[in-house]
Symmetry: C2
Subunit: 431 residues, 2 copies
Amino acid sequence: MSNRKTPPQPSRRGFLLAGGALALAGWLGGAPGALAAAGAAKPAAAKLPKDVEPFYGPHQGGILTPQQQNSYFAAFDVADTAKREDLIALLKAWTDAAARLTHGQPARALSGQSDKAPLDSGEAVGLSPARLTLTFGFGPSLFSKNGVDRFGLAARRPEALVDLPKFNGDQLVPERSGGDLSVQACADDPQVAFHAVRQLAALADGIASVRWAQTGFASGAPGGGTPRNLMGFKDGTNNPSTKDPALMNQFIWVGDEGGWMKGGSYVVVRRIRIALEHWDKTELGFQQEVVGRYKDSGAPLGQRHEFEPMKLNAVDKDGNPVIPETAHSRVASAQENDGARILRRAYSYNDGANFTAERWPPWHQGIEYDAGLFFIAYQRDPRTGFIRINKKLASQDMMNQYTTHVASAIFACPPGARPGGYIGEALFAAL
Amino acid sequence: MSNRKTPPQPSRRGFLLAGGALALAGWLGGAPGALAAAGAAKPAAAKLPKDVEPFYGPHQGGILTPQQQNSYFAAFDVADTAKREDLIALLKAWTDAAARLTHGQPARALSGQSDKAPLDSGEAVGLSPARLTLTFGFGPSLFSKNGVDRFGLAARRPEALVDLPKFNGDQLVPERSGGDLSVQACADDPQVAFHAVRQLAALADGIASVRWAQTGFASGAPGGGTPRNLMGFKDGTNNPSTKDPALMNQFIWVGDEGGWMKGGSYVVVRRIRIALEHWDKTELGFQQEVVGRYKDSGAPLGQRHEFEPMKLNAVDKDGNPVIPETAHSRVASAQENDGARILRRAYSYNDGANFTAERWPPWHQGIEYDAGLFFIAYQRDPRTGFIRINKKLASQDMMNQYTTHVASAIFACPPGARPGGYIGEALFAAL
C-alpha cells in the first residue's frame, strides 16, 4: 500500500535480546503436512480437513463455495510498476501464498527470518483456516487505462469484460470503485479473511497497492437456510443451484467463447447503501410489495413456501398483479430478463454511522447508518447477466427508493490454478 | 437517528394484499417461554440456554461476560427532547427491549401490527441469541452540557465521571467522540449485535439519535485462550481475573463511594488506529521490544509462559533491562502505575482503507488500512484507572509510533436492573 520502492526497514539490533531467538524458533511453525499433501494429490482426491476449502482446481474457490460468514474484498492498483514481468511475478507469489493461506499456513515459508520484518503478521496464529477462499480478478484497467496498453495485454482483454455503463440512479464514488486487480477473501472468521489480504498486500509491495477495501458479513441460521440481509428479508432464494453443473456451465462459467478465460467467471461488485432508518419506518405490507416476497417465509407473494416459483401472471380479485409490476424480485427475475441469471454471493456491510443526505422522500440529512449490501455476483457474461438485469432494476425497481449504489467494480476472474501453475497463467501463456 | 418529531409513516394500503395477513400471523412469534422464565426466577438460579446471557442482575452484562466475537458500540445524543420524563421513558423502554433481545426475542411484543411499520426489522429472525449482551452508559454531557443542566441531573453527576483530559498525541475526531448515552452490544454474531442496537435506536425515535457507531470483532482460538489483536500479539493477558470477585470489587465495580453508581462501572473507549503497514515492516525483535512480550507465546520478555509475571527488574548481561523502559506492557503495568488495574475488553475494528497521512516516520500518505483497536476498558474509577495509566502511556510508550487515538468517550455504566426496574433507576430515584 505504499509507493516506496525500498521501504525503510527499522533495524534496531540494540533492542534484540537473547530471549528473542528462543521464541523465534517456534514462531509460526505450522504443520506443513496438510499443505504438502494437498499440493501433491489431485484436489478432488485430497482429504482436506473440514475447515479447509481446496485451492487448486479447474475453477477458483469462493464462487460456488458454500458462502462463508465473513468477507474482505480488496481492489489493487498496479501503480508501482510498468513491467509485465512484475505483474507475473506478483501473480505467482499470490498463487503460492493463497494455496498456503487457505490451508491455514503463513503466506511464506518462515525460515531464517530472525533479523527481518516478520514474514507473517501473526494475527491468525492459532485460528482455524475457517474455510478461507481467495478469489482473484483482473479489472478492465489492467488491460488498458486512459488508452495506454500498460502491460501489452490490451489485445487480450475479453470482449465480455466491458466497462459497466452508468445506470440510472448511480452515485458512484470513484475512489471506492474499479481497480486493476481484485482479491475476494471469504472465511468463517473476519480476522482470517483480513489476515490473508494483508499478507497478499505485503507481497505486492513495490508492484501493486490497495485501492479500496470492504468488509462484509453474512449471518446464517444455525440450521442452514438462506441468510437474511439488513432489510430483514432472505437474500439469494432465487439463485441458480450451485449443485447443478449444467446450470453453472450455462450461466456462471465462461465456455469456449472465452479463450484464456475459459473456466473463469466475471464478478460484479456494488456497494449498495440502504436507508435502513427509512426502511424501518415502512409498513410490513409495503416492504413485502417492494421485495415481492413475504418477510417471514421468503415465499413469493401469493405462495406459501420459500422455493415455490413466482407466479408472475397471478392477479387478485380486482385484477391487479399479486406480485407488483415494480417488485424487486419480479424485475430481477429470469422471466423478465430473457432468461438472464447470475449467481449472487452478497455480504452485508456495516461501517458504523456517517453524515448522509437521503435521496428519496421522506428527505432527511444527518447521522445515519453507513450500512447496506456489498453485492457480489458471478456470471458467464456481464452483458447478458448483471448489465441486462440491472438496467431494468435501475429504472423500474421499487426498492430504489431505499437503496443507492455508491461504488462499483467489475473483474474477470480467471480459471483456477493447477499445482505448479499460477492464477492467470493462460492470459500470459501465448504472449 | 432523525430529528423528525412525527416521522412520516408510508401508508400505502393499496399495495396490501390478502396474502400479507397470512404471513403476518407467524411473523416473529418467537418462543416466549424462555424470557418469562428468566424474568420470574432469580438470575443466578435461572437455567438459561447456553447461547443466552442473563440480562437482569446486580451488575450489567457485557462487562465480566466472557468476551463475545462481535460488537457494535453506539453513542447516542439526547438531542430531540429536554424532558427528564422522556429520558426515563426511554431507559424503561430500552431495559424492557434489552431483556427481550438478549433472550432472542424481538424488541417489542408484535401483536396487532398489521398496518404499521414492523416493530422489529427482522434480520435476526432464525439466528441464535448468540450470547448477546447490552450494556448501557451515561456520558458526562447527559449531566451538563455547555454549562446547562439539561435534565436536572447536574448535581448527581458522579465525581469519578470526569471529562477525559487531552493526552499527549491525541488526534480525536469530535464527531466520533463523546455522547450522552452509550450502548455496547456484544454477541457471537455481528448481525445479532447490530440488530439489537437498531431496535433500540428505533425505540429512541423522537428522544435520542445515534451520534457515532463502531463495529468490532475478536477472533479467539478454537480452544480458547487470549485473542490476538491486529498487531498479531495476544491482547488482554494481564487483565485482572474476572473470576476473582475480590479483585473485581477492588478494581472494576463501584463501591459505597459511588452513591447511585454502586455496583456499576466506568467505561472508557478509544478508537486507536494502527499503522499496520508500518508495523508489518518492523522486524520481529523490535515488535517484541515494543510490546514487552514474545509474539508467539505472549510470555513477558525473559520468561517462557504467557501468564508468568513480568520481571521488571531483570537485566541482561550488559546491564540493560530485559523488558525495555518504554515497552508497552511495562509502562501499562500495575507495578509502574501505583497498582492501577483496569479490565480491558477491546475489539479490533476494520473499516476498509482510507486516505491517511502517517504521523511517525517512515512518513507516508496514501490509501492505508482504516483498522486498529477499538479499546474498551472498565474500571471502578477512571481517575485512578485509565487516566493514570494512559497519561504514562501517552508520553512513554514505544508503541505510540504505530498508534493514533482518533476517537474517545467515557460513560458511567450504572448497576444492573432488577426485573420490573430499569437501567439507571437509582439515578432518578431520589429526584
